[in-house]
């Protein structure tokens, strides 16, 4: 995998962090797919994106295991403006405690309404990527703060409990 200067992100940029207004485009893409392509297109899009666009990262996770998962998410959130995140490695798992979600924070400070299912994208995308790496993933919370867990053994990942992911609101 080609990597940036941090050694774990797959792509390099000339800026240390992304532009927060890009979250508007991500949210608008979700709204467009959910509204104009009913019947699971949005979920298909995220799963395919997870498998294909993120293939270099997934391969690195598969080859280097949970330490790479932890390093990736530290570097990832370090490049996202306004995020407050703690990443911890435990026995057979990595916990990502998103204290302040940079996207939800930006929507709120700018008065832009997120799609209600915005937070589900992290679960669908994360699970597709974890599967590709031979791992499991779960998410609880949402609407501004949440917890992602990556499991070395995919069978340890709990099934989603209805209502465990909050609807996103302004």
């Amino acid at each position: 995998m080609k990597r940036d200067s941090s050694g774990v992100l797959p792509y390099t940029d000339s800026k240390p962090q992304g532009a927060a207004d890009f979250y508007f485009a991500i949210n608008a893409t979700f709204r467009f797919l959910l509204d104009s392509q009913p019947g699971g297109a949005w979920e298909d899009y995220l799963e395919q994106l997870g498998r294909e666009y993120f293939a270099p990262v997934n391969s690195a996770w598969k080859e280097e295991g949970l330490p790479m998962v932890a390093e990736y998410w530290r570097a990832f959130f370090g490049a996202e403006p306004g995020s407050e995140v703690v990443v911890e490695e435990g026995e057979g798992r990595v916990e990502i405690d998103v204290k302040v979600c940079p996207a939800i924070r930006h929507f709120r400070t700018q008065g832009r309404c997120p799609v209600s299912r915005y937070c589900e994208h992290c679960e669908i995308l994360g699970q597709a990527r974890a599967r590709a790496a031979g791992m499991g993933m779960s998410l609880v919370g949402g609407n501004g703060s949440c917890r992602h867990t990556y499991f070395e053994d995919p069978d340890e990942a709990p099934a989603r409990v209805p209502g465990s992911i909050c609807e996103a609101t302004l």
Partner: protein, 187 residues
Amino acid sequence: MLGSYDFCGHYEWTFTWLNNRGGPELLSGFWEEAISRDSQLHARELIAQEGIEGMKAYWGYTLAEESPELGFRITVRDGVFRIDMHDCPSKGFLTRNGLEQYPDYCDHCIGWIGPMMRDTGFVIDHEHNHRGQCWWEMRSTDDERSPGAIASLSGGSDVRSRADWDDLETPIDRFCRAHSAAQKESS
């Protein structure tokens, strides 16, 4: 989570996904509905209210944020708003990282800017060379003048005066008084 740091990468990947699913109609619908009318609502409102002054405010801010090295020049003269882009931060990200899923990433700009200009009373003359360089002129729909000759509006900053503007191998795409990617003419 989909991030902002590599946004251009997954944005470009999305173009191919949409094109494969619903063809150019779905993709152009995405640029107009999702990007022009939803994501970039702030630009649309600013330009609808303030015209060229709104363009100065919008692009002055957003290009400085995306391209802190200032690889662009904005010129406002004689009722024309002009951008000369010498080092596109978005295309540059893709090129540096070897990301190319969709055959003409550059079309996305007129794909969303075009409908916004149409709805706010402006027409676009534009060329891009697929190597991170392009120019734009926006003028009122009522203004029937053609784009100026090289350097006539932006002087030495005119991207067309660069020695590497036309490498004779990559086609240059042209848009005349246009509002959509479908109005492309290639050299």
